[in-house]
């Protein structure tokens, strides 16, 4: 079993929809939680970063972490065609913050 499991998708939604992307994990040591966006033929870019539990909002994006359930989510409001990409969750422990474990990604398509 993988340490990080991500809803596989693909996901296709109409423009303006609310999108929910989810990951579960098994390693209780994970304290840093990240969401990356990866466009085709590009490297991942950091979207959101959360330490421990709670919510974090940045514009149309909201990241949620529920450590009791070992579950994290990324919500995208008012989705746009430019949001079409693969979204990767990633996590790391305090003992080695640089060693991120990634999910396998969810590919999102937002249709105009």
């Amino acid at each position: 079993q993988k340490e990080v499991e991500q809803d596989p998708g693909p996901l296709s939604v109409p423009e303006g929809a609310i999108v929910s992307l989810n990951c579960t994990y098994s390693n209780s040591a994970f304290q840093y939680f990240m969401w990356y966006r990866q466009y085709s033929r590009k490297g991942p870019e950091l979207l959101m970063y959360t330490y421990s539990s709670g919510n974090k909002e940045d514009g149309r994006f909201t990241a949620q972490v529920d450590k009791s359930s070992k579950y994290i989510s990324l919500f995208i409001r008012d989705s746009q065609p430019s949001d079409s990409a693969t979204y990767l969750c990633a996590m790391s422990a305090i003992s080695n913050a640089g060693k991120s474990t990634f999910g396998d990604g969810t590919t999102l398509t937002v249709k105009p």
């Binding site: 033929r41 913050a97 640089g98 990634f102």
Partner: protein
């Protein structure tokens, strides 16, 4: 500010051949990472450098993969000999430190025939 540079962008080789990838991190970034991303999967950390010292190489297949970061700046990743299962995108990332945001390069797409 210039991003992380990688070359080549694409490489096709026969199995059992050797290949090397080059990475130039963002200026001033002390931490450098090499990841392997197989199609349909997330990146997997191969090796992490802090300046020119290795912090973590637990997932590096050391019988065929090697990496170095001379003078704590540029880095090279080598595969010798390559296997079919090494076909993947090799991503380089850098950060100011281990607690800072990682910035990724565009990757090198390797195809092993």
């Amino acid at each position: 500010e210039a991003g992380v540079a990688q070359s080549p962008r694409y490489k096709i080789i026969e199995k059992r051949q050797s290949v090397a990838f080059w990475c130039n991190p963002i200026s001033g970034h002390a931490t450098l990472y090499w990841y392997q991303q197989i199609l349909g999967q997330g990146p997997k950390l191969l090796i992490q450098f802090q300046n020119n010292g290795v912090v973590d190489d637990s997932q590096l297949p050391k019988d065929r993969f090697s990496a170095e970061r001379l003078k704590g700046v540029d880095s090279t990743l080598k595969i010798q000999p390559a296997k079919l299962e090494d076909s993947a995108v090799y991503l380089c990332a850098s950060s100011l430190g281990v607690y800072n945001e990682q910035f990724f390069g565009p990757g090198t797409r390797l195809t092993v025939l």
